[in-house]
Symmetry: C2
Subunit: 380 residues, 2 copies
Amino acid sequence: MEPFVMYNPVKLHFGRGVADKLGKSVSKYGKRVLLVYGGGSIKRNGVYDQVMAQLKEAGAEVFEYSGIKPNPVIEDVDAAAALGREKKADVILAVGGGSVIDSAKIISITIPVGHSGWEFMKNRQKPKSAVPLIAVLTLAATGTEMNRFAVVQNNATKEKLGYGDPLTYPKESFLDPAYTISVPKDYTAYGITDLIAHCLEAYFGEGEATLSDRFVYAIIKEAMEHGPALMNDPENYALREKIMYAATNALNNLTSYGRKSGEWGVHSVGHVLSVLYDVPHGASLSIVYPAWLKLHTPKIPRRIETLGLNLFGVSAAGQAIHALESFFTSIGSPVRLADTGIDTAKHGEEIFATLVSNKAGGNYHKLNEADYRGLIRLMG
Amino acid sequence: MEPFVMYNPVKLHFGRGVADKLGKSVSKYGKRVLLVYGGGSIKRNGVYDQVMAQLKEAGAEVFEYSGIKPNPVIEDVDAAAALGREKKADVILAVGGGSVIDSAKIISITIPVGHSGWEFMKNRQKPKSAVPLIAVLTLAATGTEMNRFAVVQNNATKEKLGYGDPLTYPKESFLDPAYTISVPKDYTAYGITDLIAHCLEAYFGEGEATLSDRFVYAIIKEAMEHGPALMNDPENYALREKIMYAATNALNNLTSYGRKSGEWGVHSVGHVLSVLYDVPHGASLSIVYPAWLKLHTPKIPRRIETLGLNLFGVSAAGQAIHALESFFTSIGSPVRLADTGIDTAKHGEEIFATLVSNKAGGNYHKLNEADYRGLIRLMG
């Protein structure tokens, strides 16, 4: 193992009714609250009203920024930061899924400065301060509620970048699985795909960390056991709970301690599909992962075989990849570009060019131009 | 699952050479350091010199309290607290295994008050403040480095009690697996037993938490794969590393989130054996656990079967218990009182009386007097 620091500063409240403590938590940081959310689903499912009741009880003055997109864009981040700056927000309350909370992380460091949040992301610039962030999660998927990472895209430059800093952890997060019951089936499936992909990105990273590997198997098996059951019974609270808790653990550092780095090549390629064709994040990952594994089988056969043995009880790498693909298909997450209506004969060159311009590739297994060609063929 | 807060404030530094940052961490809290350690093994293996070099570099004034016993006693806690109070210690540095760090946790809350630390433990009294505690771990076993729990005994009253409060978490812990290489074989085995027992105490607690169960299997399997290898190759750093990291995860909350409570009945009975006959903590657990499982098979057969299936691939509860017993025996941890020279024909009544007076029993599966008789017979 590599030396590491095991530490996560997020205080995560999990379970039915936990948002009852939201007002008290927000109050610790002040009365002027920048409320950030997405397209209004929280108004339809009652979450908005519950949150506002908490803020009212806490005597907060609320400034709202809504309309964060599912693949969040830097324009919204900058506009919300401008509002927060103008209103002198003491605290940000982000209510939504990964797109909202990721945006809020960048907003939190952009409020104190005069420039676009993109400068942090593009130049890997370190922030000096951040407005405290509290998150209420409404989608089990990205794990953003208990980590410092954010992904935002820039449509002007066709880039989708990741960013993280010790200052971009939420202070507290509130996870009530009941808030995810109204998530549509497709996004429920993409969330399951996303959490599995996070575990795999850790697993295929650099460096031996056997207990972290076992945590990877544990989380993926939890998702594979309860995910299909949830797809058949989307209003089942107990199943929502299992998937939501699995998603948090899939990217809160637990699967990474002792590794030199995670991999993240699949995410990097997936981001290109999202930025080009607005493919939902989780859907992009179930398309890229099987292709990535097929491409890497000659290089890391044992690693893929070990995964297959632990997840599916199969011994060959090809069987493991097939089983993973079948799982994604079983929950309705696409495994080929064609499944989402993207024709590689027509769009292959555009994908290739964007992979090149984004320098898509992992931390450990770098991808070259021949790899891009191979991936496009395998994803077709 | 029960609603819960997922949070652990300890900053844990893990890996070779991490103690190089010790001086800097101690300095955050002040210059007056109460150094607490045990019987002097840290002087023989060089850890003391490394720690003192760090403290010297940090310009610290050091007040030493040594002689903490393997089964730590309240007299040492109170004497060390008196020293810390007299010297106006800014920070406590505990260097050792569970006994030293557990003692230091109670010392940290006893320094600010005028009474014995036992009053906190006996009356479950809440402390108002604590002197900051930094830990350097030299034994992989109890998990105390990343939790708030402490166990201390009172020889006068023949009690061994557990205690924990949000104020008794260490601020930071330093874990260099190289520091555990000189641990003798028997205590290496007891450490492995201890970490497995911690996982089981979580597993047999109240409430369903399937991902936490999977983490239990992950940690126990890690210990069962690498523990025997370590017993055959005790100077192997990579194996020391695996066991040390497993022990931390076995009791840092990870296996407990979502449960209503842990069990802890086996620990409670084990403490009686330690207080009466000075049986090392881990050794007491490998004696009590098989007996406890046999006693509880009629009540919770499915739970024991599920454990056996996941750990050993066996389907009957009896097979699971036999496999666990065989594992303990294979690493040299005793599974019967007779293995440690305690004759139940001679001492049975004394053990019974002390179980009764200590009200030994778990949070979930309570033990009555008939259970005590059953356990004594099964441990014999």
